[in-house]
């Protein structure tokens, strides 16, 4: 501790250089943190999917519908605990760019399948009771400034009404929160009955089924049993775990997510290389000063510790501030203004960032530190 003033004064030796080095480390870590969140969003929050949930879609493509009558048949299959269904609505709220997912569901069963959607008891009852009622996730509600009781019109792109109109009106009966950070709070959910009775075509069809099973370890076996039940019917099915389903979907965009992540990690390391080199350079310039310290009786080990400490202070301060700033930026919301399903700083990446800070401090300090340790006083003093 008593060497702190010494470290402090060597950092102040070239103030501009110290500040610029700090700032470039800071920028690198802001980028790192922000990209971690974006990468997470591209993975569509796959880490928080339910292990005991399966998703059943049409075998040919998930855009093809399935009959509503499958519900009871799925329910009867051994290993299945609970079933819900959902249908994609795909409406436009005011402008096509205001995208958020809208699904027609059977409210009670859907909320049973997704306990991570937290809704107060009153809102829950109000929604169940109102056929044209809907609920929205917190981030979508905040994005458009909705409050409970608001009337929300959506322009259908798929589902025309029987009377030929395309405007569907809903009353917002509740706003749900996510139980976990990664829970998707962008969904807009409303009664399937409302959709099914008023739409001009597609009666009795649903989009996909969500199934809870009793034992996640038997997921593959149960999925196969379900698909066999519907094999050779006009609507063949494909059942997969929710995780596999979300992953496959994320990978459809995924190539780009991977490319961005790859490019950016390359650059993250470029900036760190630059900062590390500057730090090493500043130690080399002080060779004679370090020799003086040794002359005064500082042990080689102590000189190494001093150089390393200096490098760790720079990396720690710059990196720490950078991660902090990234965290703050992420709190301000995602860059598309609420369009990404999840946007948060994953804990795993935060820890990884802290690891990188340590690695940077060590990498930048170790070479000049060892050189300083091995320095022979006579040589060093003669060099000037």
């Amino acid at each position: 501790m008593r060497f702190l003033p010494l470290i402090w004064s060597s950092l102040r030796r070239k103030k501009f250089r110290t500040i610029f080095t700090l700032l470039s480390i800071l920028v690198a870590f802001v980028l790192f943190g922000y990209l971690a969140a974006i990468n997470m969003a591209f993975r569509l929050g796959v880490d928080v999917t339910g292990a005991d949930r399966l998703v059943l879609t049409h075998k040919v493509s998930l855009i093809l519908p399935l009959p509503f009558s499958y519900l009871a048949r799925i329910q009867a299959i051994p290993g299945v605990v609970d079933v819900a269904h959902a249908t994609w609505f795909g409406g436009i709220y005011q402008e096509p760019s205001n995208f958020f997912p809208q699904m027609a569901v059977e409210p009670e069963s859907y909320l049973r399948l997704y306990p991570e959607f937290l809704l107060s008891e009153e809102e829950r009852r109000a929604w169940f009771a109102n056929r044209t009622g809907a609920i929205a996730g917190r981030s979508t509600a905040e994005r458009f400034g909705w409050k409970v009781g608001d009337r929300i019109p959506l322009q259908a792109t798929i589902w025309r009404k029987k009377d030929g109109s395309r405007t569907w009106e809903f009353t917002l009966e509740g706003i749900y929160d996510g139980a976990e950070k990664g829970t998707d709070t962008t969904q807009f959910l409303f009664h399937y009955d409302y959709l099914d009775e008023a739409r001009a075509f597609g009666e009795g069809l649903v989009g996909w089924y969500i199934i809870r099973i009793d034992d996640p370890h038997r997921a593959a076996e149960i999925a196969e049993r379900i698909d066999n039940t519907f094999a050779n019917s006009p609507y063949e099915t494909k059942t997969s775990t929710e995780k596999a389903f979300v992953q496959a979907f994320a990978k459809q965009i995924g190539d780009i997510g991977t490319i961005i992540a790859a490019i950016l990690s390359a650059v993250f390391f470029t900036i760190l290389l630059v900062a590390g080199n500057t730090m090493a350079q500043s130690v080399r310039e002080r060779t004679s000063e370090l020799a003086v310290l040794k002359t005064l009786g500082y042990s080689s080990r102590l000189v190494l510790t001093l150089v390393l400490a200096e490098s760790f202070v720079l990396a720690g301060v710059g990196g720490g501030l950078g991660l902090g700033l990234a965290w703050w930026l992420i709190q301000q919301g995602d860059p598309t203004g609420g369009g990404l399903p999840v946007f948060y700083f994953p804990l795993r990446d935060l820890l990884l960032g802290i690891g990188f800070i340590g690695a940077l401090g060590l990498a930048a300090g170790i070479l000049p530190g060892v050189q300083a340790m091995r320095l022979r006083i006579v040589d060093a003093l003669r060099r000037t």
């Binding site: 700032l23 855009i63 798929i158 965009i253 900036i271 630059v274 900062a275």
Partner: protein
């Protein structure tokens, strides 16, 4: 007199600059770091924007201005549209449609999505399967069969786009495709010169209708017009026809519209990230130039004592910084060009909900932008150290000896 002093000034600038550049070798470590910093930023800047550019270019060249697409009114993509057989006949007979001996050049089409495994990840992806009428080959006149032959009407045969063959497994010539209860034989591979249609699979619409229980309905009509100018007349005739409720767009606009969202997201994200990284690179070139100046304190002070002005010193430092940035910019541009140009990938086109194969396009305009960006970084990184060099108090600097 004025001319003479200007000449003197220029000769001073040249002298100091050459002196600086000659000593570059002694500072190659820190100079190399500044160059790498700038190169890294330019690589990312150009690479990310080339991805956005490639995606845009693929969709923008897909449509031609003398082709119109007709869908049901109120829908925004072919996928959500429904047109009945009567509708498609009325559309084909509308004024403005190009006619040949066989009839009007209009193709009523079906557009469905099928799941196929992606080669790169092995997971399923949405691939567009389009059912067309034989006139489609004349409507899309860019289409060429590069291997095999066209499908025969009425048979379960498909032809596959060159982009789709590259990106999805099981589409090679001669292979059998199982979709639901029907089997399709791949009989040909077609190219359209890198447009979005190359990511699709095509078959006969009349075979696809029963396979997907579509009865006699279609989803869109593609019509070749007499000329690009005939579009207004064609659109007017269809939208005022009381028998129809349709939306009419130029094919080129329809596809350009689809690229807008993703293009703006990637460009926005790329600019944001490159901007942040640029700040980091400016710090590293500031460091390099400050240490370059301080390493030469003596020389600069000597020059000043000999009567050299402050201006030439400023210019010389700036020139050095810009030169380093230029090298970095060119290096970064080269890495982006050789590493990413023509790199093939696919992504989900949200509007059509199907995969579009495209290639990164590192265009000359992007390279110029990248190098300009490098020069801006070099200018900022050199300016402050240059001013400092010019302001060095001569006496104090000489004493530092």
């Amino acid at each position: 007199m004025v001319g003479f002093s200007l000449f003197g000034w220029i000769s001073q600038v040249t002298t100091v600059t050459l002196l600086n550049l000659r000593t570059l070798r002694e500072r190659r470590g820190s100079s190399a770091v500044a160059v790498i910093g700038v190169a890294g930023v330019v690589t990312v800047f150009v690479a990310v924007l080339s991805m956005a550019e490639g995606f845009r270019a693929t969709l923008a060249t897909t449509g031609s201005p003398d082709t119109a697409i007709v869908m049901r009114g109120g829908t925004d993509t072919e996928m959500n549209s429904v047109l009945f057989r009567e509708d498609t006949r009325i559309i084909a007979d509308a004024p403005g449609v190009l006619r040949t001996a066989e009839g009007p050049l209009a193709s009523a089409e079906l557009f469905v999505i099928v799941d196929l495994p992606k080669r790169s990840t092995g997971t399923v992806a949405n691939v567009a399967l389009r059912g067309v009428q034989t006139s489609a080959f004349q409507v899309r006149d860019k289409l060429r069969i590069v291997e095999g032959r066209r499908f025969e009407p009425g048979r379960n045969e498909v032809i596959v786009g060159a982009g789709a063959v590259r990106q999805f497994a099981g589409l090679e010539l001669g292979s059998l495709l199982h979709l639901g209860k029907t089997e399709w034989r791949v009989v040909g591979i077609f190219s359209t010169g890198g447009t979005a249609a190359e990511s699709e699979i095509w078959c006969d619409a009349s075979v696809l209708q029963p396979a997907y229980r579509r009865g006699s309905s279609f989803q869109s009509v593609y019509a070749k017009l007499v000329s690009p100018e005939a579009f207004d007349e064609f659109k007017e005739a269809l939208t005022t026809d009381p028998r129809l409720n349709v939306k009419v767009m130029r094919e080129s606009e329809y596809y350009a519209e689809q690229s807008r969202l993703l293009h703006s997201i990637i460009t926005g994200l790329g600019t944001l990230v490159a901007g942040l990284m640029g700040i980091g690179a400016v710090f590293s070139s500031l460091n390099t130039m400050y240490s370059a100046v301080s390493a030469r304190t003596r020389e600069i002070a000597t020059l000043r004592a000999l009567g050299f002005g402050g201006g030439p010193v400023v210019v010389s430092v700036l020139v050095e910084s810009l030169l380093l940035a230029l090298v970095g910019g060119v290096l970064g541009g080269a890495v982006a060009y050789f590493g990413f140009n023509e790199l093939h990938t696919t992504t989900l086109n949200w509007q059509s909900f199907s995969q579009v194969a495209f290639a990164f396009a590192v265009t000359p305009a992007l390279l110029v932008q990248g190098i300009l960006y490098a020069l801006v970084m070099g200018l900022i990184g050199g300016l402050f150290p240059a001013i400092r060099a010019a302001r060095l108090p001569v006496a104090a600097a000489l004493r530092e000896l």
